[in-house]
Subunit: 435 residues, 2 copies
Amino acid sequence: MTQAATATQPSAGNIPVTRGLDGQVYPDAIATDPYAMGWMQGEPVPLNKRIAFADGSNYRFPQFRWAFAHARQLAPTLAVRRADQVAAAFGRALDESLWRVAFQPMVGDVRMDWSDLLKATYTDAIIVMHRGRVVLEHYGGVMTPERQHVSMSVSKSVLGLVGAMLLHQGVLDEGAHVEHYLPEMAGSGFAGATVRQVLDMTTGIHYSENYADPQASIWSHTYAGGILPRPVNYDGPDSFMAYMPTVKPLGTHGHEFTYRTVNSDVLGWIIRRVTGRALADVVSQMLWQPMGAQDEGYYTIDSCAIEFAGGGFSATLRDMVRIGELIRQRGSFGGQQIIPESVIADLHRGADPTQFVANGPPTLRGWSYRNMWWASHHVSQAIMARGIHGQNIYIDPRAEMVIARFASHPVAANMVNDVYTLPAYAAMAEHLRQT
Amino acid sequence: MTQAATATQPSAGNIPVTRGLDGQVYPDAIATDPYAMGWMQGEPVPLNKRIAFADGSNYRFPQFRWAFAHARQLAPTLAVRRADQVAAAFGRALDESLWRVAFQPMVGDVRMDWSDLLKATYTDAIIVMHRGRVVLEHYGGVMTPERQHVSMSVSKSVLGLVGAMLLHQGVLDEGAHVEHYLPEMAGSGFAGATVRQVLDMTTGIHYSENYADPQASIWSHTYAGGILPRPVNYDGPDSFMAYMPTVKPLGTHGHEFTYRTVNSDVLGWIIRRVTGRALADVVSQMLWQPMGAQDEGYYTIDSCAIEFAGGGFSATLRDMVRIGELIRQRGSFGGQQIIPESVIADLHRGADPTQFVANGPPTLRGWSYRNMWWASHHVSQAIMARGIHGQNIYIDPRAEMVIARFASHPVAANMVNDVYTLPAYAAMAEHLRQT
């Protein structure tokens, strides 16, 4: 780690100033290092260094640079049991020269390299694997290889994998309507939507997800689940399952993709209903156990102990990269087919990109969203899981490359990360292909 | 499990009515089975079936029959990492006829057997080992072999083991005063008390622990740590480390034993100070890792992420019985001396029983308290860890027997359990000695 830390000192001048979508300027990654800032240090911790759920400081920058790596110390959680038989660690072929791999961000007139990337994107931890071996690994701030970090919407992709596997097993029918599994949803905007439409987020529902808008539905959703402190005098739904049936229809199911987190929680509820088990147990049984996860994962939960399927999953980076490597290996690990190959092929094939054009993120032109994974439709066959503030699993089969990354970028919107990470990942892939 | 459940149906009439120290009658174990009562079941869970920290229902009977097995789903927690190399499960020589082993409780005119014991003491889970093999194992209600359960003051004994090991290593000096390690405590009632006096709870401090008294210090202590919801307009200390220095002196250090939980939290703070690590990490490194713990343990924590050393530890029963078996094996496991033999000998030797007479529990006449373990001074050399509402690790070297038990008895006071468990354990020991 010391070696990596030394190699990743910033090249002065190559780190653009961080601005929010509204132009607000944020202090940089070095100034907000959570360890240096002294969060939760002291005996007792001084009041101005404490981080808590109740006052919202756990989701406030720069405090969340500590909080993202300590979710279970701040709120109730449910364990995703680790493998009884932990897999051997991946082989290592560390190459510190890779920190010098250069790329051109999508915006700005600056040439950057990978050591700049860490700082520009407030990266807490990153692993790059090539041909099944670890070639770069770095932990900054309060992160360690054993520490779980929030994955935000990477949670959706973990869930989507499980959903696609259950489709393959015939436990779920992609043509069945939501209300077939969840009669509670018959009066909601999800009525008439198929499991496939939920998985690909082409449901026609009234649900906004602009993180910069305090009135957006995503906040009502999280207040219902108690994932953020509720406003004073809150009298809305008091659980995810009370919230979901209140979502109204908007437009037509199956016509176009729109990114709406509630689809993931509906999928989580469906999976719970058909398996009769907690989502945490299903993820453990179908992924964590067979892939030999090193550590437990865990979910933040609501007042009914129901997992926040759309964004509440924490795990270690080494287990996250293992998911990516499992996909790169077409679902096979240790001679076992953990994920059916047809499920992997479906992820890479993606959904219909024409349904993605209207509402897809501007940084992902030409992509689509399939089984809660982002598919590039690029010749590399790259796919990606991504979560706000900079969480990623990125798989480039052509370059035989897998990247997992945790970050605590001050700006939630993925596109603020994408403008650096996507060119950086592409440059690394090109570099590795040639070695 | 099914077999055990069948074998442990109550013998009608042999289960005494449960009464509190004030005479209050409680519904029995069958009527309050947490699964049958439907706690936290339903999608969403009906309001009258929810259990939460905020409203205190997590520490209310019969709700706590569910909550004791779900502490991490109700509050922030800190993990005690399980062993990277999990030990092989103990051999099994199950003998269901042992449920018929009979005993005479300390009170009442009734003859009971071990299947009655489970019901009379609201036992959630129990394991009996003989000569290193499991001879009885039972999980009731919501418990399973993989589920952690609160251990209450068994937490102290886990900590005391670690403290005694650190003394043996010379990291701690049993003659040093509390303020030598913790200058913050120089103005408190602990000033002038030695580490040995803290370990054996012979400190002279003003701290009451009558669980039936709402004004008892134990409640101020837990409110400070936020382990129970604070009263409205609470303005007391807001962390364990803010509370401990406020404890006043009473009497003389080193003269007599008095059971006061705050000693354990002071010991926890000292251990943190000398190791420079979180208690959870120390317990993992010194016990959980070397003994090959099957599952992680975890601590409930305060607003500074400091462990409730005196009562906040949860673990699986199989890991708890492993501690007991490790002690029975004189600290040796798999050819390694995990706990120095002299530390084990010291536990069995106990403290000075004359210092125990005045304030020792009436059910433990002739015993003493050493390194936060209860020593019987009996020819069997039995020692015990015990926590309110019925938590136990019991080691009888002469009978080559170890028992671990989790329970959710409606009455906190240990003596309400002791009147059944101590005769039952003695009867089982006698029975096993003869086989």
